[in-house]
Symmetry: C2
Subunit: 119 residues, 2 copies
């Protein structure tokens, strides 16, 4: 079943989720960026899911306002929102800056951010 | 008619030719790079040509060994070959380095290159 609830559930249960297309270089760049940082995102290849692919893309557009790939969700407990949507390759590059992600993985980012409430 | 001769003729008659797809970011990057450098390439959007698009892609694969987009031809009189094929975005970024292209447009690149026969 492809609807908003199923996507929200997937995103809530996995720290990093990438909606991608196998032949798209921007999508590959995002996937390899995560791999380089030692993160194994949950990846959905929209072009390999049959009719569910375009359906999923429509629901993603409703949730994030974006119909393009890569469409990335990063669970960021550091912010109240819980789930941060990185809509573009550039945003992912920013969010997954090696230092930030390493700190986050080690649980050191959160204390830093709460100390610097100003963030 | 889409065959090797028609592509070779197009490429011979136009200094810069880009085979692209409208929704592909890599293709858009190549097109905007040329625009930034004041070059108006001849652009073929393979996804807007009906059945000729995939046919053209097959012939391009035969000529350049590459089935992907962007597929770029830059007429480079500075080399014996005449037509330089820049198969990737990175190659285009290298070839269209602002200085190189400006020199070329002003006719100053060729003398420089022939002086430096070593190139
Ligand atoms: N700026 C966006 C660009 C995303 C984008 O344009 N994606 C293209 C593929 S590279 C796409 O999904 N195109 C389909 C469409 O535009 O309908 C990013 O950095 O992710
Ligand atoms: N490294 C190449 C990548 C080209 C590429 O993979 N293009 C993709 C679209 S971004 C493509 O044509 N994919 C179709 C396919 O792989 O069949 C470049 O820089 O141009
Ligand atoms: S389809 Fe070319 S970069 Fe995405």
């Amino acid at each position: 079943k492809v609807d908003e609830d199923s996507i929200k559930k997937t995103v809530a249960e996995n720290p990093v989720v990438v909606y991608s297309k196998t032949w798209c270089s921007y999508s590959s760049e995002v996937k390899s960026l995560f791999n380089k940082l030692g993160v194994s995102p949950l990846v959905f290849e929209l072009d390999e899911m049959g009719p569910q692919g375009p359906q999923l893309q429509k629901v993603l557009e409703r949730i994030t306002g974006q119909h393009t790939v890569p469409n990335v969700f990063i669970d960021d407990k550091t912010t109240k929102e819980g789930i941060k949507v990185a809509n573009t390759l550039a945003a992912v590059q920013f969010l997954t800056d090696a230092d930030t992600l390493k700190l986050y993985r080690k649980g050191e980012l959160e204390p830093l951010l709460s100390e610097a409430k100003a963030k």
